[in-house]
Amino acid sequence: MSWEIVIGLEIHAQLSTKSKLFSGAAVGFGAEANTQTTLVDLGMPGALPVFNKEALRMAVMFGHAVNAEIGMTSVFARKNYFYPDLPKGYQTSQMDDPIVGIGHLDVTLEDGTTKRVGITRAHLEEDAGKSLHEDFHGMSGIDLNRSSTPLLEIVSEPDIRSAKEAVAYVKMIHSIVTYLGICDGNMAEGSMRCDVNISLRPKGQEEFGTRTEIKNVNSFRFIEKAIHTEVERQADILEDGGKITQETRLYDPEKDETRSMRSKEDANDYRYFPCPDLLPVVLTQEYVDQIKETLPELPTQKAARFISDYSLSEYDAGVLSSSRPMADYFETVTQTANDAKLSANWVMGELSKLLNQNQIEIANSPVDAKNLGQLLARIKDNTINGKTAKDILLDMWNGEGSADEIIDKKGLKQVTDTAAIETMINDIIAANSAQVEQFRAAEPDKQKKMMGFFMGQIMKASQGKANPGIVTPILMKLLKG
C-alpha cells in the first residue's frame, strides 16, 4: 500500500534572555552545578515567580515573524507532575491562552518550491533541571542550573508530509529565531530541541492515523533519520495488519532506531490550572505594534533582496540568507569585493568547504568577511587569478596575514605585461614543437581541448601568475602561427 506521511513538530527554542523566565538567576551553559539558581529555581517554600519581560518581548517578536495572532491576554498555567529535577512539582507553562496563537510559515524546499506550514501556537514555559546519574555511587544528583530557563515551544500543524519538509521547516524556524536574536540555535547544547509527531495514512485517506511522538531529537540530520526510521517501522507494522500504539518514543542515533519510552496509558494527568502566583499577561496594541517595528529583516525578505539587489539566483539567495551570520558575512564580502556573483561563489564554495572541513561556524571563521572581500577584489583587478586566490585563502586561513600581505610576501602578483607573456609563450612553443604541430593539424574543436596543455605549461612556467585572460588570445594567435 502507498502511505502518506503526516508530521507535526514541536520545537523548544531556549530564549537567549540574560536571566531566567521567573527569577533573576543567570542563564548559561556549562556552569558548575546549582550555581545559577535562586530560591525560585530551587523551589524553596515561599519563593514566588516574577515574569521576565524580556522573554515576553522575544515571544511577541517570534509571533510577528510567523504571521501569528498575538495573545493579548495570555495566562501561565501549572503543569503538575513529580520528577526529581522538577523542583516545584509543576512546570509553569501556558495552556489555554498562549502568548502566540495561530500563524504560518512559508518554507522554501530544496526544489525551490514553497510549502506553507501552519503554526498552531507558541507558548512560553520554563525548563526543568537535570538529573545526573554518573559519579553518585548508585544515587542520582540534581543540577538545577537549567531550572526555569525560558523556552518558547513552537507547535506546528500536522502539515508536513516528508522528512525533507520537516528538516526544511526546522531549518526555517532555526534561521528565524537566530535572525531575531531570540535563541542562539545551538542544537548540540540543547538550545533548540525537537519533538516529532509522526503518523501514516493510506494515500487519499482524510482521517489521520495513530501517531507516535519522538522526543528530543537534537540535530537536523537526526530529525531526518529519525523520521525515516519511524516511518519504516510504522509502515512495517501497518502492512502486517498491525496497529500503531500511541506512545512517546526515543530516537537512538547510534542504532538508528526508535524505541518506546512510555505509552499513552502511562501518560501523566498534568492537572493544568492557571498559576495563582502570576497575573495574566495583558498586552496593549501599542506594545505589540512597537515590537513589530523592531523586527529585523527575516530570511525570506533577505533572500528576496539578494535576488533583486545582487541578481543572485534563487538558490544562491536561499543558501546565503539561511543564517544571519552567513548573510551578514556575504554582504560584507560583496561590499568589499564589489562583485556579488564572485562573492556568492566564494562564500558558498571555497570558504564553506574550509568551514565544513574544520567544523567551524561562519561567525567564527578565521578569515573575516572584509579580508575575503579584499582577496576577491584582487581577482577583480587582475592582481591575481582564481587559482592563486585559492592558495592565498588557505594561507589567510592559517593566519599568515591579509590577502595583500601574502601577495606581496610571496610575490604572487599576476603577470599582465603582454610582451613578457609573448616571450614566455614563444619559449614554450619552441620547446614543444611536436605538440604544436599536432595542434596545427587538428580540427578547431579539438584544438580547444589541446589548449589546456599549453595553458598548463604557461601556468607552470609563470608559477601561476600569468593572467589567463591575457594569455588565451596571445596563445591562440601564436599557436596558429
Binding site: 524553596m44 492537572r271 495563582p276 502566583d277 502570576l278
Partner: protein, 486 residues
C-alpha cells in the same frame, strides 16, 4: 507592663521609662510561664530576641530607631525566617531552616520590632481549630478545654495571653479573623495583594493574605504601617499606594452606612453571638452610623467553592515537598516512587493529605470543568455580591463565626461541621476584600468577634471604624484569667 498598647510602649521606650531589654525579658518570662500549657509557640528565640532588644535600646538612644523599635512580637510559623526554623507546624518541615527572610518579617525587623519566636498553627494553615499541628494543639487562654480557633491559633493566643505585644497571622479562609474572634483580640485580613506573600509558605496562593493580630485596631495599624505595600518579589502584590494607617483612626463615624447581610444572621448562628453582634451594631448607631439591611445571596456557595479552589491550589503548592531537596525524607527508599509516597505520607498529617487528594481530584482531567471552573464562576458571583453591596453601604458587618470557641476534639471527627465554622469568613477571601475581627462581647463566657468587611484597599477605613468602637467600648481590654486556665 504587659497590658500596654504599642503607642504607649513606644513612648515609654523613647522616654527611657523602660528598656526594650526589660520589655522583651518580661515577655520571654511570660512565655516560659504560659507556653507549656497553652503551646502557642513552636520556637522561642530568647537569645536572638534579647540581642535584638539590646540593639534596639542602642538605636533608640541614638535616635536612629524605627517606628516599632524594641516592640516584642511573634510570627506565625509559616513566614520564612533566615536561619530560624520555619515548620508550618508540619513534620514535613520540622527541621527546615530557611536561608532567606519573608518580606513581612523583614519589614517588621526593619521597623525595629523584636521577634520573640514562631507561633503554632494548623499544619500548612489548614484548619479552624489549631488542633492539627505536628507540635501539638493550642489551647484557648479563656478556657483551656476549648480551641483557640485556627489556623493562626498560636498567634491569637500569644496576644490574648500576653505572650507578645502583637503577632502576624495569615488568612486564607478566616485564619486571622476566626482565632482573633475566639481569643478576644483584634485581627485584620488586608485586601489580597496589600501585603507581600514572598517568603510565606503557600497554602492557597490566590486566597492567602498576611495581616496583623493585636490587642487593638490601633496596634494593628502600627503593624500595617510596617508590612503593607507593593513587593517586586510578589507578582500578585498590588501596586497601590499605601497610607499611614494611624492618621485616620480618630475620624468620627457620623454618616457611616453599615450593611447587615441577612445571610449572616440566619440558621446556625448561636443566639449569644447574635445578641453580642446586635449590641455592637447599636453601639455604632450611637456613634452616628446608619444601618441598612442588605443581602449577599451567594454566601452559601462560598463553602463548596472554597473547598474546591483552596485544595486545588494546595495540591499543587505542596508538590514541592517531595523529600528531594529539603524537608522530611523517608528512611531507606526502595525507589523514586517509594521515596515520594512514603516521604509525603509520613510528612503530612491526614488533614493535609485529605486536602491534597481533594484538590488533585478537582483538577483531574474530566473533572476540572465540573469542579475547578465551576468554583471559579461561583467565586466571581461572590465577588460581584460584595461589589454590589459595597455600592450601597460603606462597610458590611456581621459575626466572624457562628459560635464562640468550641471544645477541643468536638469537631475533629466531623469535617463538615468544622468547615461550617468558616461560613462567614471564606467569602471575603474569595472576593479578596479586607476584613477585621474585633472583640464585641461575650457569649458562654467566651469572646465574640464582630466582623467588619470593606471595599478593596480600605484598610485605613476599617481600622478607623474599629478604633472608634474601641474608644467607646472595653471588650478589647478584657483579658483571660490565666489563674484558672493555666
Amino acid at each position: 507592663m504587659l497590658e500596654q498598647n504599642i503607642s504607649s510602649l513606644v513612648q515609654k521606650l523613647r522616654n527611657k521609662e523602660i528598656t526594650s531589654l526589660e520589655l522583651t525579658q518580661s515577655y520571654l518570662d511570660k512565655i516560659s510561664e504560659l507556653n507549656p500549657s497553652l503551646n502557642s509557640y513552636i520556637t522561642v528565640c530568647s537569645e536572638s530576641a534579647l540581642a535584638a532588644a539590646k540593639e534596639a535600646d542602642i538605636a533608640i538612644a541614638a535616635g536612629t530607631a524605627g517606628p516599632l523599635a524594641g516592640i516584642p512580637i511573634a510570627h506565625k510559623d509559616l513566614f520564612c525566617t533566615n536561619g530560624i526554623k520555619t515548620t508550618c507546624a508540619s513534620k514535613m518541615l520540622s527541621n527546615f531552616v530557611p536561608p532567606y527572610e519573608s518580606t513581612v518579617t523583614a519589614k517588621l525587623e526593619q521597623a525595629g520590632a523584636i521577634m520573640l519566636g514562631k507561633t503554632n498553627m494548623d499544619e500548612f494553615a489548614m484548619g479552624s481549630s489549631n488542633e492539627n499541628s505536628h507540635f501539638g494543639l493550642v489551647k484557648n487562654p479563656w478556657n483551656t478545654d476549648l480551641v483557640p480557633g485556627g489556623s493562626s491559633g498560636g498567634s491569637a493566643v500569644a496576644v490574648a495571653a500576653g505572650m507578645a505585644v502583637a503577632t502576624t497571622g495569615t488568612d486564607t479562609g478566616g485564619s486571622i479573623r476566626q482565632p482573633a474572634s475566639f481569643c478576644g483580640i483584634t485581627g485584620l485580613k488586608p485586601t489580597y495583594g496589600r501585603v507581600s506573600r514572598f517568603g510565606m509558605i503557600a497554602y492557597a496562593s490566590s486566597l492567602d493574605q498576611a495581616g496583623p493580630m493585636a490587642r487593638s485596631a490601633e496596634d494593628c495599624a502600627h503593624l500595617m504601617n510596617a508590612i503593607a505595600g507593593f513587593d517586586p518579589q510578589d507578582s500578585t502584590s498590588a501596586e497601590v499606594e499605601t497610607q499611614d494607617y494611624l492618621t485616620n483612626l480618630d475620624q468620627p463615624l457620623t454618616g457611616l452606612t453599615i450593611g447587615l447581610p441577612k445571610e449572616y444572621f440566619g440558621e446556625g448562628l448561636e443566639q449569644g453571638v447574635a445578641d453580642a453582634i446586635r449590641q455592637a451594631v447599636s453601639e455604632f448607631e450611637k456613634l452616628g452610623a446608619k444601618i441598612k439591611d442588605i443581602s449577599l445571596p451567594n454566601l452559601k456557595l462560598s463553602i463548596p467553592a472554597y473547598y474546591v479552589i483552596a485544595p486545588s491550589e494546595a495540591s499543587s503548592n505542596l508538590s514541592r515537598f517531595d523529600g528531594v531537596r529539603y524537608g522530611h525524607r523517608c528512611d531507606e527508599p526502595k525507589d523514586l516512587i517509594d521515596m515520594y509516597t512514603r516521604s509525603r505520607a509520613e510528612g503530612f498529617s491526614k488533614e493535609v493529605q485529605k486536602r491534597i487528594m481533594v484538590g488533585t481530584y478537582a483538577l483531574s482531567e474530566g473533572y476540572y470543568d465540573a469542579y475547578y471552573l465551576k468554583a471559579q464562576r461561583i467565586r466571581r458571583l461572590i465577588k460581584q455580591d460584595f461589589v454590589n453591596a459595597l455600592n450601597e453601604v460603606d462597610v458590611i458587618m456581621g459575626p466572624v463565626a457562628p459560635t464562640t470557641a468550641f471544645a477541643i476534639g468536638s469537631k475533629t471527627d466531623d469535617p463538615v461541621a468544622m468547615y461550617l465554622e468558616d461560613i462567614y469568613t471564606l467569602s471575603v477571601n474569595l472576593a479578596g476584600i479586607p476584613a477585621m475581627s474585633i472583640p464585641a462581647g461575650f457569649s458562654n463566657k467566651m469572646p465574640v468577634g464582630l466582623q467588619i468587611m470593606g471595599d478593596y484597599f480600605t484598610e485605613a477605613k476599617l481600622l478607623n471604624i474599629a478604633h472608634q468602637f474601641q474608644q467607646h467600648t472595653d471588650w478589647h481590654l478584657q483579658t483571660p484569667n490565666m489563674d484558672k486556665g493555666a
